[in-house]
Symmetry: C2
Subunit: 361 residues, 2 copies
Amino acid sequence: MPPSPFLAACRGEAVPWTPVWFMRQAGRHLPEYRQLRGEGSILDAARRPDLAAEITLQPVRRYGVDAAVLFSDIIVPVTGFGVDIAPGVGPVVEEPFRSAADLDRLRVEPPPYVAEAARLVAKESPVPLIGFAGGPFTLASYLVEGGPSRSYTTTKALMWGEPRLWGDLVGRLAAIAVASLRAQVEAGASAVQIFESWGGALSPPDYRSYVLPALRSILESLKALDVPRIVFGVCTGELLRLFSEAGADVVGVDWRVPLGVARSRLGPGSVLQGNLDPAACLAPWEVLAQQAEAVLREAGPAGHIFNLGHGVLPATDPAQLSRLVDLVHSQTSSPGTAGPGTAGPGTMARGTGAPTAGDDR
Amino acid sequence: MPPSPFLAACRGEAVPWTPVWFMRQAGRHLPEYRQLRGEGSILDAARRPDLAAEITLQPVRRYGVDAAVLFSDIIVPVTGFGVDIAPGVGPVVEEPFRSAADLDRLRVEPPPYVAEAARLVAKESPVPLIGFAGGPFTLASYLVEGGPSRSYTTTKALMWGEPRLWGDLVGRLAAIAVASLRAQVEAGASAVQIFESWGGALSPPDYRSYVLPALRSILESLKALDVPRIVFGVCTGELLRLFSEAGADVVGVDWRVPLGVARSRLGPGSVLQGNLDPAACLAPWEVLAQQAEAVLREAGPAGHIFNLGHGVLPATDPAQLSRLVDLVHSQTSSPGTAGPGTAGPGTMARGTGAPTAGDDR
């Protein structure tokens, strides 16, 4: 495999172009995915390594993105709670977590099919594979609420009302995440992302007191594997610093926080991932292009992995994402460097911080 | 009516104690509300001035809060779309907004029962009445999506895809808000709050381009009425400055942004409202008290109206809110000044910025 712009960007090194991938790039918005999966459950597909690997590779072939992300779900490594993924809803949990007795149901044994799928992808993929796991608050919220939630009241009641039990729960979930991520990396994943998607439901002091130790323990346990560690969540503008403090190498930013603001909170050397509003992919191309260019401008010339600020929406037209990948690559390729796809040299000088004369953005 | 700590705080003036009220203080969590309303629809109750006034006064009597807020809903002034409030869901719209032809359905004629309820409350209430209206993005999102939404994709598609129609829509919604708020103030409301609850779904540049002009027009139109203007939304950490720029006298802050951080974004003279996590009211009293004290500490000694960071959750025990009001009043009353309720003089010196010797927070 040639040197990867994605991995270089994660490490804050110089890149030939800004790398780009999309959260949920593998999945419902792709016709080839819908055809392959048919009517089965998402979890059924995630449990079949050959199918999961093929689904993972579909967007890599179609879009020429700079990273693959394993087709799976953050709830997959959590067994023993009657978990399913309800279409249009998300993870639902038949037997929610209620008391200390439920801790025993949390087994730290990643299902072998995840690593097997990672192995198949790593063998085939022309770009690095990102393994992933759920963040402690996010996973706990599904287990305690029994599914997605708007206000997380049951989760927070447990957190504040039984802090020791809560600590045991997020500690166990951290151990599950570590085991799953380690297995994915050993199978060939070159980077990992922690989806702490709903962590932004907590105030910064609460996240610090009740969740950060578990997040830190995940990130520290992974350090020896020497792969970039990305942490992402939505509505986390006030938590970005905490993610970084906990040991994230790359901080994912949703579209609510301009990347320039995020960088000012994290410091000049920080590496950011994001942050186009996923709904912008449903807008006319001219709007989408303007929005993408604004993201690149805010990000500055280095320390940026282009992505959406949350997952690809199911209604997204793949043609829009194709053009978007080409735009990011062509706009950011160094003069004289052919981009990764069909696009020619771009207009943004890399590493100088200054746009070239021809830059009209 | 004696001088109001709530109105003084809104104007940034010295206060005898930090005033407190709660968004959704009138409603489902109160047994006297459930008894009074019976099985009817929320909108039926909002349409009966005598009932709406009585419901508005219930929490004023029970809690001794420093302001009343009219029992109604932001969707009430929007007629012609088949609006209802679905229990546990929120506003739903039978015939959503789809095209320019739908603009004619947006009539700028506030229903007379809102002002009539305000008049009844203003006559009876020992504390100022807050009138309210929905913010332009928030109202537009209900009309376009047909109800609450997670990703606002249809709303944003209209906004980006048909910016002129969008401008007409939010302009008309602004006019409806102004007419409703003016009627409430003329009927006796002493302050107004714009609930731009879902504005945080937009990035700051998008909010600035597509919504801020409409918000500004509301706030400017109200200026001549000389009542404090509050603007509030959730996940709006990056929009606080825009709300202030648009003319808000008081900026509501959700629990995600520590008030000290909010003040640093808005400037030292700013007046903030908030920002306790509503879920904390479901926690054990000791936790709730700690969280409330942390809010008071972050807010500093002036320019603060205590509130939750979003509405009272229906599962909230009224006894918790009673203790919370007493805590805020007693902790912030000037030494030697009897608080408004049964609580004695508090421990926080007002206006000096320094806690007194006995302060153990």
